[in-house]
């Protein structure tokens, strides 16, 4: 492991680590509104069955999670709790924003109590549009995120260059392939 300590990650090792990370994501379900039921259908129902993608939807706390799915309307009262949740998660961490409300406010774009988009509070990696999105759309978002994770540069973290936002531009489900 001398190479790794120096921060020069051989390419095969990087791709091995990345593949391991992308297929063992522990996802924390932050279900807020209608989308939470569709998220439950995607994660908990026999028809959609997220575990076949290598995603485990049952961590007991955000401290054990790699990925959080914020599904539903984020209100101004809820926003501090989401911020705190995100800060509790260990690096590297990913966020999927599910549904129009979490993306941009959705049908409550002119409401006085709704935060217009969870990306005002925490960085979002994948946006899943829809009101609510079908479970298949959420699964597509997970798959796109896995593709992105496989192309990440692990070396930067080992070199101690600090936290760099690994995802340069957000992924939108239905918005074309991931670069």
């Amino acid at each position: 492991m001398g190479l790794v300590d120096k921060g020069r990650m051989p390419k095969p090792l990087t791709s091995l680590f990345n593949m391991g990370r992308s297929y063992s994501m522990w996802v924390y379900q932050w279900g807020l509104a209608c989308c939470a039921i569709e998220m439950g259908a995607a994660f908990g129902s026999p028809r959609y069955d997220v575990m076949r993608l290598g995603v485990i939807p049952l961590p007991a706390s955000p401290r054990q999670a790699d990925l959080v799915v914020v599904s539903g309307t984020v209100t101004d009262k809820m926003a501090p709790a989401i911020k705190r949740l995100y800060e509790q998660m260990p690096e590297p961490k990913y966020v999927i924003s599910m549904g129009s409300c979490a993306n941009c406010g959705g049908p409550y774009w002119d409401s006085y109590s709704v935060t217009k988009g969870v990306d005002q509070i925490i960085p979002v990696d994948v946006y899943v549009p829809g009101c609510p999105p079908r479970p298949e759309a959420l699964l597509e978002g997970v798959v796109l995120l896995q593709q992105r994770i496989k192309r990440e540069d692990m070396g930067a973290r080992w070199r101690g260059e600090g936290y760099k936002p690994m995802v340069k531009e957000p992924i939108v489900v239905g918005g074309g392939p991931v670069e």
């Binding site: 509104a33 209608c34 259908a41 908990g44 539903g72 309307t73 209100t75 009262k77 809820m78």
Partner: protein, 390 residues
Amino acid sequence: MTDLADRQKLSYIAAQAADARLNVELETEGMTLNIGPQHPATHGTLRIIVRLDGEQVVWAEPSAGYMHRGYEKLTEVRTFPQVTALINRIDWLGSFANEVPFILAAEKLMDIEAPPRAQHIRTILFELSRIANVSLFLGDLGVQLGAVTPVFFAFRDREYVLNLIESATGGRFHPNFDRIGGLKDDLPAGWIAETKQVMKRLRAFCDEIEDLLFGNEIFQSRLRGIGVIPADVAKQYGLSGANLRASGVDWDLRRDQSLPLAWDKVDWKVWTHPDGDSFARCWIRLQETRESTKIVDQLLDTIPAGPIMAKVPRIIKVPEGEAWVSTENPLGEMGYYVVSKGDLGPFRVKIRSASFNNISIVPWVLRGVYVPDVISILASLYFILGDIDR
């Protein structure tokens, strides 16, 4: 003998003294516990603050507002057809049932009535959304008591109902299908036969849940005699729906009210339960799901022919006036008080949602119960956060 009795007495006194000393040493202070805002038992983001003395709840207070989206204010800046798209999302498990009372209130103000075919299909979709709502409750109930299997059954069979709603309305979750004066579209071909199949499947699901959960000894001991709400208390707190009927009050707006919907044309029963405990509330919901499948079956046989839309102007302006319509939604009484000033949109809409009143009893019913029972009582009261906070 006297010696022995004296010794017994002395040892008893000594034990008492030791107990008293122990109690003084282990003097417990009250503890405040936050359940939520994110908790599986809260169906969303309800926070309940409980003050505990050991294992017992001394005081409990629900803290709502984490899901407040300002519906009543938003309706003031939307037109009437736009409002239905919003209010779908109040009770997100039974979306179509939210639209119906608002549309009926608007129709009352405009003095038009939907044609009989539209009324029939409205009632069918209303009951389908009730089934979609309550079947998830029946599955989720198991999870909250520690049985994970029923929720998989619930999600499996709920998908069939959602597919039906989707094939008829185009929306899997939020149909937005009801229009002032009728419905958006007619039923697709083959829908009726398919629905009958699904209703058969749902009845099998109810039997399955009854075998798995309601006959289970652990389930019964967790719920029987827990969280008893007497009939007079239930009325005082304004409970409605299954929570009220479980306390022995024979009250169902589908039967007691004459609305332009088709419930009076079919043969069905209002179930009540005398106990008023958590088990009764769950049992009533199970029976109501069965009853709903029967209502749908009967309605499918008697759909009248004819148009699905009454004559309405293309730009809907609701004349000046006020109207109140409430219906028996999956969670209880849901009503809309619509005030119109003759504009494109309502001047003011007051939404009476069932869950808000149903959780108002939480401070009363949680007093003195043990911590594990808090979860089972909350589960049996069955609320949806969008319905509480709106």
